[in-house]
Symmetry: C2
Subunit: 598 residues, 2 copies
């Protein structure tokens, strides 16, 4: 049974060859790190993930978390692995030195999260959730709040959560009911029920810092009356130690399809003590800091399950002997050929491979933009990166998780009936992957964010920032014969993308529902073009390496062949999305609610 091994060569190719991370570091005051150090950090992360986290992946799925009167016990080994993770200093890697962090680029955290998440997504969620909590505190907290909560969160001694969802509202946060009553000492008393709180209660850290959305007594209705509060499981004492137990308790764990190793909690706030972060009634805006980070983090989940499924199914396809190649035996001494000789098995493997490597480039490119917004001193560069990030975040989140689920299913399909059985781990991989299309905003929510807010909401300006990059690449390579097969379709798709956007914008002026009708097809369409751009970049890079005679020719040839596969067998999916978008809203709105069934 194949276990996950971090694909170091692919990771480094994406970072340093395609996306020129060495230049990126140099340009953005990130000279505390160079290519060699980065590679060595990544290697250490890979060792930890492979040796410590991989063996716990199936354990987490099979044992799950246990609830006993509010106390949650994580699966065997989870707590000890977390202790090792802290001791090695991983939680603090990308955080500010002021609070005990190592100050390394946030993009390096993306690579760490990919590797940890591919090894064991459910485990990775415990430190993963802390990350967004820290971002929110760092951006919106008072100096005192930062001094109190950030050091133990940065060191990993404490973990964090985000408490948004209530039983009657998830997407529609304007409906939330949790109340925060001001107390005489300046704190608040929180009462209400939150559900679906990942890592909401567990035994891995000394304390858990909940960031909670709630309403003040005089708050306006809807989203304009939401405030943000810090509610620690144990109140913090002045010396930084944990004090009194707060009135926030885990009422139950959800029974889920997958990610059983992570505790998904119902949290009851029964007059729990909380502290306002940021301004009253401005909580939702503050939340977006957290949510964008979380969305990019969830995009990595799509990549993680794609990579893990790919590795497992590739290994199986090389070993499993079944039938003969239609063009003559390829393993004549054996009783049958390995199934990797069959074109349809290759189609399934290459789809996974093209999506994994393409998704990785997209994720690392987004991480690069995040670095620029954080570390650059050039305001124009920051604004540019911010626009790219705002466009690419919903695409990365929804496109990578949708294709991640598809890839996890293809991995299973390569195993035939064996894939449906627990022992190979591909059915767990598929169950684990499915949540990523739902949490942190469903695909539908991301699609409305992309098309409604990011694209049409800026009159297409945000989109143009990205299509211009593509246009420049295509122009620069217009006479490059060896890249013709990529540049030509990329050019025409890029042009069509703009036209299609214009078309939707015009129809939406007549009927606002045109936006919702087009949105998910538009998001997927955009994702396929974005990946085409990165695959074209990869092809250009690989071709240059081959031309120069540098490095492992087989590796670069494989990149070119995968780029060809992507352009010939994945990119044509835009044809269907294009036609569906063009079909308009009419075919969706014809039926009354009653006419859906008789």
């Amino acid at each position: 049974m194949a276990d996950y091994r971090a694909p170091l060569k692919d990771i480094n190719f994406a970072l340093f060859d395609v996306l020129k991370y060495a230049d990126h570091y140099a340009k953005n005051q990130l000279d505390m790190i160079d290519q060699e150090t980065t590679e060595s950090v990544i290697e250490q992360a890979a060792k930890f993930a492979e040796n410590v986290l991989v063996p716990l992946n199936a354990v987490g799925d099979q044992e799950g978390c246990k609830w006993d009167d509010g106390v949650v016990t994580t699966p065997t080994g989870f707590k000890e692995a977390y202790q090792q993770f802290i001791e090695a200093g991983w939680p603090s890697m990308t955080h500010h030195e002021e609070f005990g962090g190592q100050g390394l680029p946030s993009s390096l955290g993306t690579v760490l999260n990919e590797i940890v998440g591919s090894a064991n997504w459910a485990w990775g969620m415990y430190p993963g959730l802390s990350h967004g909590c820290m971002e929110t505190l760092f951006t919106h907290g008072t100096d005192e709040q930062k001094a109190t909560y950030l050091p133990p969160l940065v060191s990993g001694q404490w973990t964090g959560t985000m408490c948004l969802t209530e039983p009657h509202c998830g997407t529609d946060l304007g409906m939330l009911r949790t109340k925060a009553e001001p107390q005489a000492d300046g704190s608040y008393s929180l009462t209400g029920t939150k559900i679906f709180i990942s890592a909401g209660e567990h035994d891995m850290s000394d304390n858990i810092v909940h960031i909670v959305l709630a309403r003040l007594p005089d708050a306006p209705a809807g989203t304009k009356g939401i405030s943000l509060f810090i509610v620690p499981k144990f109140l913090a004492k002045e010396d930084g130690q944990v004090g009194e137990r707060n009135a926030v308790n885990c009422g139950a764990l959800e029974e889920k399809m997958g990610i059983h190793g992570n505790a998904t909690c119902v949290l009851n706030f029964d007059g729990a003590t909380g502290y306002l972060i940021g301004q009253a009634n401005k909580g939702l805006a503050c939340m977006f800091t957290f949510m964008n980070t979380a969305r990019l983090g969830t995009a990595l989940q799509g990549l993680a399950h794609t990579e893990l499924g790919y590795q497992k199914s590739l290994d199986y396809a090389r070993e499993r002997l079944q039938m003969r190649s239609l063009t003559g035996a390829k393993n004549p001494e054996g009783p049958a050929d390995p199934i990797i000789v069959h074109p349809d098995v290759r189609r399934m493997l290459l789809t996974q491979k093209a999506l994994a490597e393409g998704g990785r480039m997209l994720a690392y490119f987004a991480a690069q933009q995040l670095d620029v917004t954080k570390y650059s001193t050039d305001d124009a560069a920051k604004a540019h990166a911010d626009q790219l990030l705002s466009l690419l975040t919903p695409i990365a989140k929804a496109f990578m998780t949708e294709t991640g689920f598809e890839a996890s299913s293809l991995a299973m399909q390569c195993f035939g009936g064996h894939g449906y059985i627990r022992e190979w781990g591909v059915e767990q991989n598929m169950r684990d992957s499915r949540i990523a299309m739902l949490y942190e905003g469903t695909t539908g929510v991301q699609a409305l964010d992309l098309l409604g807010r990011k694209v049409l909401g800026t009159q297409g300006e945000t989109l143009k920032v990205f299509t211009k990059l593509i246009y420049k690449f295509c122009q620069a390579n217009v006479d490059n014969e060896s890249l013709k097969e990529f540049v030509e379709p990329l050019t025409s798709h890029n042009k069509e993308w703009g036209e299609l956007t214009m078309h939707i914008g015009l129809t939406a002026l007549e009927n606002a529902d045109e936006v919702g009708a087009a949105s998910v097809d538009y998001l997927m369409y955009s994702g396929y073009i974005a990946l085409a751009y990165f695959w074209a970049l990869a092809a250009e890079t690989a071709q240059q390496k081959l031309d120069s005679g540098d490095g492992d020719a087989d590796f670069y040839k494989a990149k070119l062949a995968t780029a060809q596969f992507y352009f010939q067998r994945i990119l044509p999916r835009t044809r269907t999305h294009h036609d569906c978008i063009k079909s308009g809203v009419g075919n969706l709105m014809a039926l009354s609610s009653d006419q859906f069934s008789f």
Copy 2:
């Protein structure tokens, strides 16, 4: 929480309005039954499924089957439900009167299996597997074998299985190793291990009749050395009662992703007594009788999960209040609008609806052809039906299970995060549905059967039988303005289908791998066109009903609107499959096995 209700109005529309089952009965010596009786039988089946099987669906998933030293216990209530099923005479419905059957049309069994399977697929597999076992005995058994085994199987007192797969071979049955040694008394002694045997051991029936593939000692290697044996769990005594326990034992149950209510067994044959069915070394040919039935049965699984998921998500979409319609509040008194107002939720619901109702027409059409091959006295009609069935079986099996899985995932998506939680039943529905793309021949195996054997293997003759039907329909409606939006794209797709087939046939002359490279895209492409034909038929029927003023106008308007949705939002998927097929085998074969990873 919505429970399954058999969609009687849709079922009857497909049978009697679209597919003219009353004429079909009259033409095929099936005058023992008419529309009224059929409707009443279906209503009884619906009552049984809704009252007895629906409540056991989640129980089966959560309890699973228990193994204790070879003894398998099914989930609480399964055995009692099966007793009621037998008492009501359901197992015998479509079987020959000679063996205690009721002699009703086999197509009625399709409707029964759809309803039972939608209510509780894992339960339905116990009687479902018997069906194919009976077909094999009926077609290939000796008179004595039929007299011994058919009556208790027909009555349901005994159940049956099919034992093909071994640990090292599933698709590639030529590799199987189970041995059958001839004994002095004319019986055989079977030794070997079979895996993935659904309903292989359980506590629901008095005896289990295994149909087992094995090799005689002098058998040629490969598929030409496979024979078929009857191996009963208990040997049959002359009086028809069960006798001595045979040496076939359940060594373990598989831990699976879903269908936990069904026992998936490892069966050990340790010198078990067996009896040859049919000729020695001709077992694989006999098997195809069984496998075709099983494949059509599995196609229904796609329909079952699509329908169940649709009902659950529709109900949720009507109840769940979240956000406002972009075109203004539709439920102004409530805190938010029901999510069915949102175009993207409608897209997900309509996709499920169009696939469920379209798949149902395809399944009932195939069942009609099966009736003709069984009951018609017109040799030309039988040959015609046999060709249609041979073409449509792999399409129905693979296309309906692939889209069934997609639909089950869309059902979950309508629930947002709640869909991932056990309580709503949509995550079970999705887990249960996933096996259907694997067992009874994976999608890849069906696709090779379709393109290689059925289509190219007959120089396109089999395909033409179906495309001619479509052509005739289009010609008959060429001037029908109200059907223009269906007839025009159907005409062009039908023409393209032939051209694309010719194209693949030509490239395959150069390189046999072109068949495998095109196969799955070709199968899905074919499925979308087949469903377009049935949706066009449904539109024609609905339009006629509306023109005549007969019946429930809202119902027929909904059919027309769903047909429009299908043509505008589902049929465009052929564009992508078309382009992928045209891209050829080159992009799949470029990499050596080693180059898939570095």
